[in-house]
Amino acid sequence: MLEGAELYFNVDHGYLEGLVRGCKASLLTQQDYINLVQCETLEDLKIHLQTTDYGNFLANQTNPLTVSKIDTEMRKRLCGEFEYFWNHSLEPLSTFLTYMTCSYMIDNVILLMNGALQKKSVKEILGKCHPLGRFTEMEAVNIAETPSDLFNAILVETPLAPFFQDCMSENALDELNIELLRNKLYKSYLETFYKFCKNHGDVTAEVMCPILEFEADRRAFIITLNSFGTELSKEDRETLYPTFGKLYPEGLRLLAQAEDFDQMKSVADHYGVYKPLLEAVGGSGGKTLEDVFYEREVQMNVLAFNRQFHYGVFYAYVKLKEQEMRNIVWIAECISQRHRTKINSYIPIL
């Protein structure tokens, strides 16, 4: 691919880049968040959201309004925007956008399998699946009993097929194995996506590769933290870490041996980027590790818009929109539970 995206990018992708930048400008501002935080009920929240770019998206909802309904409608709206981009895209942007949907597909597959374990009806779960991760074979997922079953019978035609190499086994799908399957699929997906961006080269690689490396490192830290005190062994834990990123390979080896939060923190001390993040955990604000990582992700995604002629703006827009949805859901939960002490723990974007 010739360098010099400035010369060729706009031919195929200029319209969509303009569109996504317009969408990004309509994200909620700090003033909008201040208005939302002052709402007393969810109905107030709905009225305030009508004045933003969200408009009347909750108009068809029956009473009573719940946080879950707000979340579902926001997701539908994002899905509508994304599908517009997808339908109007050309290669290689369409492959890039397909990669973006794979993470939601993995979540949906796991949701369906867990539902099968709990003997839920497929229709009930299909209603709650992420719309961005829809694929035609979804209804059949609950029939599979082992990962190889799942692959051979159902997922071999979907974009998820290449991610199954490490996951083929005859083990029955119980909770531990489903969790391992989820993390291995995601690891495979991240590595493939990273390779795609790197091979594409040009500005896209310069913007996307650091973002994906951060994602890999973040998964390593979170998997480690959540595995303390569970039945997951250290060897199993190490197989779940993606094999790229700043932590690869020495940091990952150290992380695999960590047994508590302080040991994890000492691993992070070796990396200039992660040392201040882990130190901000806890403290007076009561921030969790997930919070500090979300903040850093928002910073990186906002910076992606400073460069032109690359696909990273699409990825960054979807991630920023998701953070905005998380913020609104958090504020809505605090309002509906009438517990307003932590209502300002959202992450402002613009």
Partner: protein, 180 residues
């Protein structure tokens, strides 16, 4: 029974009643705090895991309870409630009390010999690698359960105390019909 004895008993019952009321207030406030904390931790878990990952999709419509309510009668008409882990053999009760095992959720069954399978931790419904906030929520709700049983016992004791006081006051009136 002589009037001064009755009065002394009435006084002590009244004092105990007031003490119980104060304890009840305190326990109610703590229960409210725990339940609020639990729900907020669940909201934090949804923030970290995704809004649809912590919800009704994750649990089955029929579930085996992890804890059972154990009622025992200490004195005539006074019942005590205790929360007991399911699957643990309750010790033989020696004395006048009658023990009954009541299940809080699920179909009502006569007490059966305990099954050898250990009850599964509900935390695993949400996956093996769950965020810390979900564990905190579980701990808050567990504390709340204990408190709920204590509050039920206290309320029972307060009602029983009030009945006793009323009974004693009747007796006093009969003994001293002219007394103010």
């Amino acid at each position: 029974m002589a009037a001064p004895d009755l009065r002394a008993e009435l006084d002590s019952l009244l004092l105990q009643l007031l003490g119980d009321l104060e304890e009840l207030e305190g326990k109610r406030a703590v229960l409210n705090a725990r339940v609020e904390e639990g729900w907020l931790s669940l909201a934090k878990a949804r923030y970290a895991m995704g809004a649809k990952s912590v919800g009704p999709l994750q649990y089955a419509s029929h579930m085996e309870p992890q804890v059972c309510l154990h009622t025992s009668e200490a004195q005539e008409g006074l019942q005590k409630f205790k929360v007991v882990r399911a699957g643990v053999h309750t010790p033989e009760e020696v004395g006048p009390g009658e023990a009954a095992l009541r299940r809080r959720k699920g179909p009502a069954k006569t007490p059966e010999p305990q099954s050898s399978e250990a009850p599964q931790d509900p935390l695993n419904w949400f996956g093996i690698l769950v965020p810390h906030s979900l564990r905190q929520a579980q701990a808050s709700f567990r504390d709340g359960l204990q408190l709920a049983a204590d509050i039920a016992s206290l309320q029972n004791r307060i009602d029983w105390g009030r009945n006793q006081i009323r009974g004693l006051q009747e007796k006093l009136k009969q003994l001293e019909p002219g007394a103010a």
